[in-house]
Symmetry: D2
Subunit: 119 residues, 4 copies
């Protein structure tokens, strides 16, 4: 079974036991997801890029917890919308291969919509 | 191999081919993650909760793409910080079991830090 | 003097006294701004729309504090980029008048880019 | 009249003419605010801090537009919650003076809740 499937089933049981389905509309879950993503970002906001790659153990544990929260809401939202995460990711990675061909994307961070700009 | 492991390896190859590691500091990836989470939220911002659960096919495909983007940056960030996603999630779900005991959490959306409040 | 001008000068003095300019790159301020906006959103994430309009006094005070945080970072960022907030807002409101003509926008929440869609 | 008062009245007229009050619950406005804040952040996500302070004219105009969007939703949300922005900001800045005394805050970006930590 895919990791996503396994987490999905665990989360269903967790929510059911707490009668939380009433709160888990896709709208609410999407909102909770941004909130969690911002809590993650908060750990990095005043750090230089270099320091963001050299967190101490406590900070790293806190960051891992935020990452897990995001993952949890992401799987939950996909479940509520009946989206197959494994397939959605495979499809997006294929799309990215096309949107960001190596010769155009190499060494720059431009969005694919900006490739024809002289910038 | 875990789904996360598989995606991680694919993303490493993808980034290496494009020389994108230079942009992928944890700080930048965390920022990109919030941006993607907000793009997801944008699809839902003016919808009622009921309508957010009844998206048409086009909207659903667009949402699935955003969800995949979040997943991609999440795996990438965890990789850069050397965080094992499977373990981080297992740990957080165990923590949530303790923080949200069924008898206290049932039917309400309070945060565990608010359980002793009279509200 | 415009409210924005007044706040801008206060914030300059506040930051200077604390030697915080070193942290206030536009990148960092933009990141801090999303984080604050998400802290605001957190207050609303599990509420129905109706309940979000009927906060109790404590909640309202907490929300007002978050709103002030956002305003503070917004003025600070505009200052760092030398953007005149009064002018930027006037310009955007004029633009919105054109993008959302009453006859097309009345009673729907579509984005101006979607006006020709049959949807 | 305060800048905020002026913008507030303009936005009321704008929304009324379009019958948009039905969409402007505090919950929805808070969500829209995070989305706009993230659109702003997107402009900076792959830039170094130094480059984020040296935007070209086009980028700066785009950023100014996003800043205006945030300001607009912020004023609108405050109006819907009957929060006086001028007062809320004055109160928060006073609070910040107490939370971040110069001698403790000088030259570091720690949150006031972390001041007693040895770090």
């Amino acid at each position: 079974m895919s990791s996503f499937e396994k987490i999905k089933l665990q989360l269903r049981a967790f929510s059911e036991a707490r009668d939380w389905d009433q709160f888990h509309s896709p709208k609410n879950l999407a909102m909770a997801l941004v909130v969690e993503a911002a809590e993650l970002a908060e750990h990095f906001q005043w750090l230089t890029e270099a320091k963001s790659a050299a967190l101490n153990t406590d900070k790293l544990a806190a960051v891992a917890e935020e990452i897990a929260d995001i993952q949890i809401f992401l799987v939950r939202l996909a479940d509520k919308l009946d989206i197959d995460l494994d397939k959605a990711i495979a499809r997006k990675m294929e799309l990215n291969e096309h949107r960001y061909p190596v010769e155009k994307a190499r060494g720059n961070a431009r969005k694919y919509t900006e490739f024809d700009d002289g910038d």
